[in-house]
């Protein structure tokens, strides 16, 4: 790289890089107004760049290390002993190649073999993973619904109490806590009953349970909507930071 070019790049490359990002961001935002040629250009540029990177990343980030170097092993260097190669990994190339028969009219059934292996492994994983995910949560639903003391309705304030008194308060269940636990248990039972499909819930009690279940679902979804909206705006603020601060203020105006 001749020095002239090197100086030019050292000086201007960061701004070129930021400007390319801003160009694409503005292009993609233009679809907010209406679908247009500029958007379609950046859309296809993006699909191409993303596809190109994904193809290469499969080799550089996975197949090179996890497949090829494990298959051929590594010669001894003065720092490490020799790592033997596992030749059985070579069988994966023909199995992977079977996947490409999906494009042939006659033999596309054979593409099901590599997919069958992946599906089978996935299915076995689901059976194994279920208990670790849900067991502890089912256990946590078993809350005590009776208070252990009627000293006061709500939990007394622990400000300025001796540690022994504080632990005593923490061990007891006050009526307000018992009521909250009852609401927790009632909610989980109503929501589960809403998702029962194999029998008709004719009795009034069951109908009431599923209607409260649906109302509880709406509270759950409202809370989800609230906390997710909060985070969506963060991503927009990050783009504004990229355009206004990193590109405009720090890039063009060179202000720190």
């Amino acid at each position: 790289m001749n020095p002239g070019m090197q100086d030019f790049l050292n000086a201007w490359y960061p701004l070129i890089k930021l400007s390319a990002g801003v160009f694409g961001t503005v292009g993609l935002y233009s679809v907010l107004y209406k679908e247009n040629k500029f958007y379609r250009f950046v859309e296809h540029l993006y699909l191409g760049l993303a596809g190109g990177y994904s193809m290469i990343a499969l080799w550089t980030e996975t197949l090179d290390d996890t497949w090829y170097s494990k298959m051929v092993g590594k010669a001894a260097t003065h720092a490490d002993a020799a790592v033997p190669g596992m030749w059985a990994y070579a069988i994966l190339l023909p199995i992977g190649a079977m996947g490409y028969f999906v494009f042939s009219k006659k033999h596309n059934w054979i593409a099901k073999i590599p997919i069958g292996i992946i599906l089978g492994l996935y299915a076995g994983q689901q059976v194994q993973a279920w208990w670790n995910h849900y067991g502890p949560q089912i256990n946590k639903c078993m809350q005590p619904i009776f208070p252990t003391t009627l000293a006061s309705f709500t939990v007394p304030s622990k400000v300025g109490l001796s540690p022994a008194q504080v632990t005593a308060i923490n061990q007891n269940i006050y009526p307000s806590q018992a009521l909250s636990n009852l609401i927790f248990v009632a909610t989980i039972l109503c929501v589960l009953s809403y998702f029962l499909f194999s029998f008709e819930l004719k009795s009034k009690f069951f109908k009431g349970m599923t209607r409260t279940g649906r109302l509880a679902l709406m509270i759950g979804f409202g809370a989800i909507f609230g906390s997710t909206v909060l985070m969506r705006f963060t991503l927009l603020i990050d783009r504004m930071y990229f355009i206004c601060i990193e590109w405009f203020k720090q890039g063009i105006l060179h202000m720190r």
């Binding site: 994904s54 705006f233 603020i237 990050d238 601060i245």
Partner: protein, 315 residues
């Protein structure tokens, strides 16, 4: 009359809305202001656990995010790397969610090191402080493999030892030489923008204490794990980053620090306070304005509907 106003209120052009949102999220960036908000229990618990880990121990860190969720995830990743560097803890970083993730993690640590070197602090160096273990497209398979035999899960991974300039096995690096199985790692972190948080709990539970740092959209769902005690710490979106930055500056349940009624543990602020404020503190104020805009628009929409209905009934 009411109907005309009602219909007008309900049909503000979409593009005015977008223009206002652009302004509301960019102008506050130019002059930041502080917005004191109490940290969530999950963030305080995360900070307390991380500050109690003995110095020199190794953390397993799944960095499953890329710049597409930079707003949420980068603030969390930067906060954790700064705490690890300040407390001399080591990190083994891998990814099972995105082929680009290892490269994004490398570049972000380089950014942090540039600021640390400028402030005269030692950089968080590759090989001695952290190693990159690459990407694994099958999350389920790789996590199960880590749970049963960590050494075999990351076998044949090499990295350049700066002292000798040679590509050496990562298990000879100061980060991983004392690590034979998952329970040797002090904590397992997962910073993710996808479902790898669920997959990690399903496979690594009971092997080592788990911490999840997720984007906002995954927050409520991941709350169940924290509520059931399956994970010991939880940071949600930029609020998680903002909480960590506040705790890094002030400490938890220490004199002058943040007081938490639900988390009894106490933890000091970071020893070196330079460059603690970052993405969390910077993005939080514009977030307030954006939320006010959203609430106002919802109110306008509903008032418009009510007026239109009243107008229609009176006809």
């Amino acid at each position: 009359m009411a109907k005309i106003i009602g219909d007008k209120l309900q049909s503000l052009p979409k593009y005015w809305l977008f223009a206002i949102l652009f302004l509301v999220t960019s102008i506050p960036l130019f002059h930041p202001l502080s917005v004191p908000t109490p940290p969530d229990d999950g963030s305080a618990d995360l900070y307390a656990h991380l500050m109690q880990v003995p110095a020199g121990s190794t953390i397993l860190l799944a960095s499953d995010w890329t710049n597409s969720t930079r707003g949420d995830s980068k603030g969390q990743f930067v906060a954790i790397i700064k705490i690890l560097a300040d407390r001399k803890l080591k990190a083994a970083i891998y990814s099972t969610a995105d082929a680009q993730a290892p490269r994004v993690a490398r570049d972000t640590i380089a950014e942090i090191n540039a600021v640390r070197v400028k402030n005269g602090q030692p950089p968080y160096s590759q090989w001695n402080d952290w190693v990159s273990l690459g990407f694994y497209p099958s999350a389920e398979g790789q996590l199960s493999s880590i749970a049963t035999d960590l050494r075999k899960a990351f076998a044949s991974k090499t990295e350049q030892n700066p002292a000798t300039g040679e590509q050496q096995d990562v298990f000879e690096s100061p980060v991983l030489q004392k690590i034979y199985k998952l329970s040797d790692c002090a904590l397992s972190f997962t910073i993710t923008a996808s479902k790898t948080s669920d997959l990690t709990v399903e496979r690594l539970l009971h092997k080592t204490p788990l911490v999840l740092m997720v984007t906002g959209v995954m927050g409520p769902q991941t709350q169940n794990y924290y509520y059931s005690g399956q994970i010991v710490g939880l940071a949600i979106g930029v609020k998680g980053a903002y909480d960590l930055e506040t705790l890094m500056a002030k400490g938890l349940n220490v004199p002058g620090g943040i007081v938490s009624t639900k988390i009894p543990a106490s933890a000091p602020p970071l020893s070196n306070q330079t460059d603690v404020q970052s993405i969390g503190t910077l993005f939080y104020p514009p977030l307030q304005f954006a939320l006010w805009l959203l609430i106002i628009m919802v109110v306008i929409g509903n008032v418009g509907m009510a007026l239109s209905k009243m107008g229609a009934q009176s006809k």
